[in-house]
Symmetry: C2
Subunit: 275 residues, 2 copies
Amino acid sequence: MTTQHLIDQIKTKKSFLTVGLDVDLNKIPKHLLDLEDPIFEFNKAIIDATHDLCVAYKPNIAFFEAYGIKGWMALQKTMHYLHTTYPEIFTIADAKRGDIGNTSTMYAKAFFEDLEFDSVTVAPYMGKDSVEPFLAFENKHTIMLALTSNEGAFDFQTIKVDGKELYKRVLETAKTWKNSQNLMYVVGATKAEYFTEIRKIVPDSFLLVPGVGAQGGSLSEVCKYGMNAQIGLLINSSRGIIYASNGVDFASRARQEALKMQQEMAQIMALHLIK
Amino acid sequence: MTTQHLIDQIKTKKSFLTVGLDVDLNKIPKHLLDLEDPIFEFNKAIIDATHDLCVAYKPNIAFFEAYGIKGWMALQKTMHYLHTTYPEIFTIADAKRGDIGNTSTMYAKAFFEDLEFDSVTVAPYMGKDSVEPFLAFENKHTIMLALTSNEGAFDFQTIKVDGKELYKRVLETAKTWKNSQNLMYVVGATKAEYFTEIRKIVPDSFLLVPGVGAQGGSLSEVCKYGMNAQIGLLINSSRGIIYASNGVDFASRARQEALKMQQEMAQIMALHLIK
């Protein structure tokens, strides 16, 4: 999917919401557990209930791998359902991959070709030749960790390198890589005040923003400092939406939560005169 | 597996060789492609031919994921074969994972519980709460990237933070984490001169060392600077062993290459009076 296609979808839906699919069999409604594929059935119900309010789904790959073959099959079925039923949706494999060149190529093939994701998250620690293999895929997007929403972000990401935080060095360096136009970045909502600095380095890139809601980040603060003329933000919510209820009403309650966020986003877009 | 069990195996076999299983269907012998599960058959043949010369196998998870369900099934079968046939072998999931806490727990379950790996490789960028969930598993080992063997290692790992390279900061910080006794570290063989400095920070930890052979690192140099009284090294070779031949003799040629390395290791152990 091209970036323009994503932007068009955002403007049509008046939403830049991403719904994270972190399916934990201990948390989903009990009545689904009797079905043949509870993980897929849960995803399908969430997707059917929210697809018009969000622009992207982000399956969290760990939550599928933890269930082995069954999990991987549920992931395939979820992707197939998205492609055939809602082909306009942007898909994010939240996988945080990254390895030496030929191995990164294999990961890229797994997510971009086999599962047909539009994008995948990657980690920067191994540098240029661990990320460029992902960037080589046309109309696919590589979402690199910059500043994450967890406490551990302060262990290494914010330490000073030549007087400047490591995450800034990561952003500046990544911009010089081949096909860097295919890069997006993960920036946690819990650090809204950092967005001003980040926008100085990557004014035009899309940022995938976890941490709104359950982790305490504020949507309006993130937009205030992080939004650009093309929106440039994908705001993720996982648990706050998909686990709004664990009863038989889980899908409609998920829709309610997604609707609240979409409405807030539509207001923000109107306020910023983005049409 | 306990660390002592690994050390005992090293002393018995006079080897600290790890064989990396990076199975690429474009590289394995053509005659295997007619079998029902070529990936597993290739692994089984390599394992049968080399198990007495090495102490660990390291499936490279990307190479399984790239083949989807079939790949994941081949991985399960390979692990089952190792557990039932050669239970003394140490197993490494080369996965380079790392995410926020609850997601890391799911990855840990996938590799430590579902697939019963003894260890998994992780990336440090997200810090303490992305790695500690792995460390909580008893008699399981978490092998964190410190200084990798690729060119991109110089992008971030060796830049100076308060006058000291980032990878040293990573090692020093990780030592303070809960259950850090379950940590091992990845240090590339291509940077043998760095081992002296690394051993000052983590004198007792095991180091997983890629980059000997195909990537140009020298076994004797690595041992000279990196070995400790309990060996403390796991030297990985992937392509140099498993793709020694792509003919019908691939397994016996793999054995020849593994034997060369084991013999060199036995000599080094004798020289260092390690029995």
